[in-house]
């Protein structure tokens, strides 16, 4: 039987299913939400099933059509990939529900209803295509295939960002498209260099072939630059805030929580599995320095912003820096694999930042603007949204029960153990900055407005408020799941265990 629980052919479902759903959404424009919801549910189910398979059977490879590499395309699962897949599935389900609430609220608007109907029609297929691209990225085991998924993500993300139709968002999304094209072309050039030196494209075969040659070093540099452009690490972050802040609310959530994680995940895999033998300490320190600048610069910019969505977007720039600070500390993270700190930051950030962007979107829907100065009294009218915002803020700061706390704790201890105290300073300064920008908005929420000038607005539907709250709660209690998540991570963490059997050098 093909569909038994232990069959490896389940692995293609997360890629194929959203692709088909995207096409169906184009065809049946009235049932789009039902199609998307069913897809998101099945996607979540399959992600859980694949994790079950990983725990029972270990790492699985699946060759599409039975063609083995170097000719065929292969998919593979391991701990980090499946946790990212699970993150995408959970966040994706919440985003699907939220987008439904958002569009039905917007379409009920008598003046601009038809425009939002138009936007909704294109939102669902593009979102499904993006989901297919992300799932493909996490599961693919072939560097050229990864290029295709990167392009798929770039195209659908840029189109989604342009959906709101405002001139500012169109300019931002044009720039976003150009940047993502530049990034993927640089990535492709890196692949070419790689292929010339090694002659294979499959990640599993490549694992042992990374030797210290000029071609490989050039390939690493090109791949890194291409992916950094897409991940928006600090000198290359200029496109992110306008693109994320000017998009529709559900689109901002998708872009900020999921899309940047995809390219970061690849970058991390390359640095710590494929190219691990040739990566030098000074290169790791360089990445860490960029991350430190990102944390400080993003935090300071977030404090200076006047609009809520721009503030949340700059907070993304700042939080991405934490992912890169793990690079120089990776050499001393003994005992725990290097993946765990990074995965915890990524998971927490995905949930917390989605909740925050959803809350910001709700505030925008409720008030019709998101100027931070005029946010007084939102707490009284949107209690659940404000609660979600607060909890998400706690996770971003990295206070104890949240998943970010564990990650920051690992980074702090390892930076002090290896007497690289400057990283510890930056990590703590970043938390302080996060506290300032979260509380700055929070304090406005709790101010009671002097005049009773709040105009009567339609109440927000539970679909708008509850996904945000649930995601925020997941981010907050992620550390309680830590043993379980670490167990999954330790399954088939292919690269490091094989490359350094006696611990990291």
């Amino acid at each position: 039987m093909i569909f038994l629980a232990d069959s490896p052919s389940w692995m293609i479902t997360p890629v194929i299913l959203p692709l088909i759903a995207g096409l169906l959404c184009f065809l049946f424009s009235r049932r789009t939400f039902v199609i998307a919801l069913i897809t998101a549910l099945i996607n979540l189910f399959v992600a859980c099933l694949l994790i079950y398979q990983l725990l029972v059977f270990g790492t699985i490879r699946y060759y599409i059509g039975g063609w083995r590499p170097p000719i065929g395309i292969s998919l593979r699962t391991d701990g980090p990939a499946l946790l990212m897949l699970l993150m995408t599935a959970v966040t994706g389900l919440a985003i699907t529900l939220y987008a439904r609430g958002y569009f039905s609220y917007r379409i009920a608007d008598p003046v601009r209803g038809s425009r939002h109907q138009h936007q909704q029609r294109y939102f669902w297929p593009l979102w499904m295509l993006l989901l297919a691209g992300l799932n493909g990225l996490f599961l693919s085991g072939d560097i050229f295939n990864l290029y295709v998924t990167l392009e798929l993500i770039g195209i659908s993300a840029a189109s989604l960002a342009a959906l709101s139709g405002k001139p500012a968002s169109q300019r931002a999304s044009f720039r976003y498209l150009l940047i993502s094209l530049l990034g993927s072309l640089t990535y492709l050039l890196g692949i070419v260099f790689f292929y010339r030196t090694c002659g294979v494209l499959d990640l599993g075969v490549l694992q042992n072939t990374a030797i210290n040659e000029p071609g490989i070093r050039a390939a690493l540099a090109l791949l890194t630059v291409g992916l950094l452009l897409k991940t928006a690490l600090v000198p290359l972050h200029f496109w992110l805030p306008p693109a994320h802040a000017n998009a529709l609310a559900p689109v901002s959530v998708i872009l900020s929580a999921l899309v940047v994680k995809g390219s970061f995940y690849l970058l991390f895999r390359f640095w710590f599995e494929l190219f691990a033998p040739i990566v030098t300490t000074s290169a790791l320190n360089f990445m860490g320095t960029l991350g430190a600048i990102a944390i400080l610069w993003g935090g300071i910019q977030a404090i200076r912003q006047q609009r809520l969505k721009l503030m949340v977007a700059y907070s993304t720039v700042s939080q991405l820096g934490y992912l890169f600070i793990a690079f120089p500390l990776s050499r001393t993270l003994t005992g725990v694999p290097v993946w765990s700190a990074v995965i915890f930051i990524a998971l927490t950030h995905a949930c917390a930042k989605s909740a925050m962007f959803m809350a910001a979107g709700n505030v925008y829907l409720h008030l019709g603007h998101d100027r931070i100065r005029n946010l007084d009294g939102v707490r009284a009218s949107l209690p659940i949204t404000v609660f979600a915002y607060g909890i998400a803020g706690v996770s971003l700061m990295g206070l104890p029960p949240s998943g970010a706390f564990i990650a920051k704790w690992m980074l702090l201890t390892s930076s002090i153990d290896s007497s690289q105290w400057w990283w510890a300073l930056v990590i703590m300064a970043g938390s302080l900055l996060a506290m300032v920008y979260v509380f700055r908005v929070m304090s406005h929420f709790f101010v009671i407005p002097k005049r009773e000038s709040l105009k009567e607005t339609t109440p927000l539907s539970p679909l708008l408020e509850w996904p945000a709250l649930i995601l925020a709660l997941i981010a907050l209690f992620l550390s309680l799941l830590a043993p379980w998540l670490l167990h999954i991570l330790s399954q088939g963490s292919t690269g490091l265990a094989q490359l350094f059997p006696g611990g990291l050098p």
Binding site: P70, I71, F144, V148, E151, G154, I155, A158, S159, A162, G165, K166, P167, Q170, R171, S173, F174, L177, L178, L181, L182, L185, L188, L189, I191, V192, Y195, R196, L201
Partner: protein, 111 residues
Amino acid sequence: MITTLLYSLTGLILFGMGLFTLIIHSHPLRKILAINVMASGVFLILIATAYTPLGQGEIDPVPHAMVLTGIVVSVSVTALALILACRVQETSNRTLRKKTKQPKNTKGPKS
């Protein structure tokens, strides 16, 4: 060997020229063309990688497949970029027109 090197160098130069234009020029159409030139450069290097002199072994099919995929991606992306550029142009023109019209309307006898 020398043929491969020659074509690869040409490809790299094309890539560099495209990158230069992409950064220097601000016109959207030029930027899109620059991206296309860069893509052609990469494809040229890939094709050069697959080159084997006549009668000396089989031709490696993988780079050809990669170039074909790359061309398909590049065509569709160019279409998307052109549409977006047109939209940006239209909306900015419309807002320009509104801005120039507005003072006349407010001055008019209607209000």
